[in-house]
Every structure is written in C-alpha cells, then in structure tokens.
Amino acid sequence: MLLFRSEEWIDKWCERNNIARGEALTIKQVWELSKLWYHNRLSLDYHGRNIEQVAEIFKQAGLTSDFWFA
C-alpha cells in the first residue's frame, strides 16, 4: 500500500505501471483501521485471524464494499 498526494497522483501511477486502480482511503481512515488491525499484534495470544474476524474489523472501520470481502 502506497502513499499519494491526491487522487490524480494515484491515477498517474496506475497508468504508468499499467495497474488497475484499487481503493484509496484517507490517512485518517487508515489510522482508524490500523488501531483495530494492529492493537494486539505484540500479544502472545495473537495467533492470526479467521475470515469472520477480518470481516468484523473492516465493518467496524466502515469498509463495506466488495473490495474488502474475502
């Protein structure tokens, strides 16, 4: 996942690299997602997540389009 100044820069990068455009989130959206996704990553009890747990995190972060479905 890469950082861009604006939508226009994403379009330029996708075109130059012949890559289909994915989804762009604001830095604040990704910060909220990061807190949900990584808050327990250093715990001994963290053994990964199943699909249902991932779906719940995306839902809590407001990411509900097909792009975020497993």
């Binding site: 890469l2 820069w9 289909a20 994915g22 989804e23 830095i27 990061s34 715990s43 792009f67 479905f69």
Partner: protein, 153 residues
C-alpha cells in the same frame, strides 16, 4: 512440532522487532529457546506458511512481520527513541498502533516523490499539515488477493 513453542517464537520475533527495530536471526532465536538452528528454521518456515510473518529464504531471514519491515523502506517511524521501518503506508500507521505509543512518521509520496511528516499523539493524528489534507493510501488489490504476492500488496 510444538504448537505452544511455535507461538512463543512468533511472539519473540515481534518483541525483538519492538525492542531493537530489526528481526532476530535464526541463530538468536535458537539460542533463546535452547533449540537447534535447524529446528528454529523449521518453526520460522511454519510461521511463514501460516502468514504469521514473511520470510526471505536465502538466507533465512524475517523480511516482514507486519507492520515491521526487516529492510529499509520509504516509511520511517520514530517512536520510543528508535527508528523503525514499515512495510508500506498502512504499516507506517500500524507501528504506533502496535506499540501503543506516540510517533513521528516520515514517508515519501509515491509518484510525486515528496516527503511528508505526520505525528501520532495520544491516539490521534496531529501536526497534520493542511497541505497533507488530501493524503491518500492506495490499496491496489482487494482483500481476497492480499496474500497472492505479499511484497506487491
């Protein structure tokens, strides 16, 4: 394979990243758990297969233990008097989230090449310059394909 030891090794790798900013070698992990280097290598490979972290195989090294990167990148995170490297723009925010700490982040915008700085303080993004108001993170692949090619993702 001992499943309890497997997850203890995962935890040790992550804690080593947090403490030192880089991953433990297989030798260091073997010594810590009093097992052979070959055994430690097998545990590393099993954790790689379970997506717990991502290895370079020659030599056997932890390349990514998300959000931490084992190699320098364009995404630097200054926290706890250390400088970490993140694997990507998402992971640069993942490091302060994982460490539960404030951080100053320096990152390079793809395509424009500009460097931007962000600050995480008390769980919020602060020092958020108005010129950064349109900063976006692009996810090129849908979630269902993230593990097809983790380096690209």
């Amino acid at each position: 394979m001992d499943d309890t030891l497997l997850w203890q090794i995962r935890h040790f790798v992550y804690q080593h990243f947090a403490d030192t900013t880089h991953p433990p070698s297989v030798d260091i992990t073997a010594a810590h758990f009093d097992i052979t280097t070959e055994e430690a290598g097998e545990y590393y490979k099993e954790l790689h297969n379970r997506h717990a972290f991502f290895l370079d195989l020659e030599p056997l090294t932890v390349r990514m233990a998300n959000p931490f990167s084992g190699i320098p990148t364009d995404f630097k995170v200054h926290a706890n008097d250390k400088t970490y490297y993140a694997n990507c723009a998402w992971d640069m925010l993942g490091i302060p989230a994982a460490l539960h700490t404030d951080a100053v982040i320096e990152a390079v915008c793809t395509e424009s090449g500009e460097t931007v700085q962000l600050e995480i303080r008390d769980g919020q993004i602060t020092n958020y310059q108005s010129t950064n108001s349109q900063l976006l993170i692009h996810f090129p692949l849908p979630f269902a394909r993230w593990y097809d090619d983790l380096t690209f993702t």
